[in-house]
């Protein structure tokens, strides 16, 4: 993966290099046309040096920071007295050659004040290193190179910086992807490994119950084992689901889904958990149809409603609403409970994130809402929450009404 991308970066660099060289060659030929043989010879030498410099930057080790390598290369190839390269992103000045004073401030000032000039007296050349029009560093040289060569060096340094950044970015993304994949695999493996012991425990505890002859105390303990096994099993299933969603091993099987029965089904399936709450369904339009992966949407809604149940005042009303707004179906689940602190409203959808304000009172796992978010994202939709003491807390999910079948 990274190799493919790195070579694509190189291809761009090669094109830029070709462009730079053609430009220099044109100048070279113009000089020759002027019949300025001495200058032409010196130019020719500098063009060859630039060619060498380009060749060497392409061979640079992209895993190491580019500044020191570039400073050394420029110093060596162009036979300069001294070189300083400033990398604005890393905020580092890399000197090479002999500087009587530390060139740090000098190089930084070039960047900050945007001075690009050449002083024939001191032989000092200063260039802002730009990528396109964006300054990304600076170059200071002392020696016998011509102003156009100095400019060409600065351009080549910009390209080298850019290649390095693209490569670093790509490797970081690759690393993140691999870490995520590994984590998902571990989670998946763990969840599967839990299933067998859970099944054995549940069969054993309920088996004891079926065999009968238990004292009331024994029966109570058996029921407790059964109930707790249920909780563990539920958690395991949820872990498995997130692991799969995260690993991207999910295909969105989109079908046309009638929203009203979908919501009713979720409410029915939550059954006992909603028993102590008032539930209101609010679907203004008669028939709202959504193209989505039904199974995933059930997960999202279950999560929202279950969450509302967990964090709301016993006996209060949970309002579930779905309406078409332009090209999206907006689902919302509103409940009354403690306000979600403003700092938490974004992060609450991150996995394992549990608001410190609420951690003590509900038995959440910090997984559920991240599942809801993943489901919405997989459908090209979004999630958010609003919360205030008087208006209550409302979780939203906006899903495009028509989605194209996509494979992730």
């Amino acid at each position: 993966m990274s190799f493919i991308h790195a070579s694509a970066v190189s291809a761009n660099a090669v094109m830029l290099l070709a462009f730079a060289l053609v430009a220099l060659l044109i100048i070279f030929f113009l000089m020759r046309a002027k019949n300025n043989a001495r200058k032409a010879a010196s130019w020719r030498a500098q063009v060859l040096d630039l060619h060498e410099f380009t060749r060497r930057t392409l061979g640079m080790n992209l895993r190491l920071e580019p500044g020191p390598q570039l400073a050394e290369l420029v110093h060596e190839i162009f036979a300069l007295e001294a070189v300083a390269v400033f990398d604005a992103e890393l905020h580092q000045v890399y000197p090479a050659g002999h500087w009587s004073a530390d060139p740090q401030e000098l190089a930084q000032n070039v960047y900050y004040f945007g001075t690009s000039d050449d002083d024939p007296k001191t032989g000092l050349g200063r260039r802002v290193v730009r990528l396109g029009t964006v300054p990304i560093g600076s170059l200071v040289v002392r020696g016998k190179t011509s102003p156009s060569t100095n400019s060409a060096i600065a351009s080549l340094i910009a390209i080298a910086f850019d290649r390095y950044r693209a490569f670093a970015n790509e490797s970081r993304m690759e690393t993140e992807r691999r870490t995520e994949q590994l984590r998902s695999t571990v989670l998946d493996g763990l969840a599967h490994a839990y299933k067998t012991p859970l099944t054995a425990i549940r069969a054993a505890s309920t088996g004891l119950g079926e065999m009968g002859n238990l004292s009331p105390g024994q029966a109570e303990l058996v029921a407790l084992i059964d109930e707790q096994t249920g909780l563990l099993a539920d958690l395991t299933t949820r872990l498995l689901t997130t692991a799969r969603l995260d690993a991207g091993e999910v295909t969105v099987h989109a079908t046309a889904v009638d929203v009203a029965p979908l919501i009713e089904e979720v409410v029915t399936s939550l059954g006992d958990r909603l028993a102590s709450m008032k539930v209101e369904l609010d679907i203004p339009e008669k028939r709202v149809v959504l193209e989505c992966d039904r199974q995933m949407m059930v997960m999202l809604l279950t999560q929202y409603i279950d969450n509302a149940c967990k964090y709301s005042i016993l006996g209060s009303t949970i309002t579930i609403r779905a309406e078409k707004v332009h090209a999206e179906i907006v689902f919302s689940v509103r409940s009354f409970g403690p306000e979600i602190p403003i700092n938490d409203r974004e992060r609450i959808f991150d996995r394992y994130y549990r608001s410190t304000a609420r951690a003590s009172r509900a038995n959440g796992t910090g997984i559920g809402l991240s599942v809801a978010k993943r489901v919405a994202l997989l459908h090209g939709g979004s999630v958010w929450v609003t919360s205030d003491e008087i208006e209550g807390t409302t979780f939203f999910a906006a899903i495009p009404a028509t989605t194209h079948k996509r494979v992730f």
């Binding site: 859970l198 069969a203 079926e210 249920g230």
Partner: protein, 254 residues
């Protein structure tokens, strides 16, 4: 009346599960033989004498699905219950389409497992029902010839398709019917993918046959797999228990 004990062949590669299932089954009067591989199961079945097979789906070797396929070739009517996990709905559908009678989802309760075993065995042992005989389940009565449905003797007005769905489900009461099978039975093979269509009909049907459509007792959903009409036995058992309790004080006074 002493019934012949039900003989179970339990196939699961996890010894913990075999060890957990065996004692309660044995104590409740079942005979249990357990093996850990599909290959062994097929060997045992060739000798015959089993009433039902409990078959794990995920096993090393030929695995549960292939074992099921071979069992069906060997014994087309032998009840087979699959032991599956919750997030493997496609496997459940595959097993049902290959002729599995039912499935239970791990981690299941013993009560659920035993009820499913009894239902499956009873179905095979029961004398074949005449195809045009009325079907009575709970308070519902369906007459396939007159195409009439009554609830507590009150006629229900069903559309043709609603009746067809109900007929298909009630004549297989207690068994899960996959979406594809139900769609094929009522609309034909071209429509086997139209699950959403089916859901709309089921929703209407529930409004007509259930007391409370939000908590159905007759027309049940097997999430992601299909629909199941409630096992007639569940209504009979409830009634029997009710009757027994009512009768108890009288007997005591005599």
């Amino acid at each position: 009346m002493m019934q012949t004990p039900i003989r179970i062949l339990l196939v699961d590669d996890e010894s913990a599960i075999r060890r957990a299932l065996r004692p309660p089954l044995v104590e409740l009067g079942f005979q249990v033989v357990d093996v850990s591989r599909g290959e062994e199961a097929l060997q045992m079945l060739r000798a015959g004498g089993f009433d039902v097979v409990l078959l794990d789906v995920n096993m090393p070797g030929i695995g549960g699905i292939e074992t099921l396929r071979r069992i069906r070739a060997l014994a087309p009517r032998l009840p087979v219950l699959m032991l599956t996990v919750r997030d493997a709905e496609e496997e459940k559908v595959e097993a049902l389409e290959l002729g599995a009678d039912d499935y239970v989802t791990k981690p299941f309760s013993m009560r659920e497992l035993i009820a499913r075993i009894r239902t499956a065995v009873r179905r095979v042992r029961a004398p074949a029902r005449a195809e045009d005989a009325p079907i009575v389940i709970g308070e519902l009565r369906l007459d396939p010839v007159k195409r009439k449905v009554t609830k507590r003797d009150q006629p229900l007005h069903l559309t043709r398709k609603e009746f067809d769905i109900l007929l298909c489900l009630m004549s297989h009461a207690g068994r899960v019917i996959t979406y594809a099978r139900l769609l094929t039975a009522v609309w034909g093979a071209d429509c086997r993918e139209e699950v959403e269509y089916l859901r709309t009909f089921v929703r209407q049907l529930r409004k007509k046959i259930e007391d409370n459509p939000a908590t159905p007792v007759y027309l049940l959903t097997d999430v992601y797999v299909g629909y199941r009409f409630a096992d007639p036995q569940t209504f009979i058992e409830e009634n029997v228990e009710g009757v027994a309790e009512e009768n108890a004080p009288e007997e005591a006074s005599n």
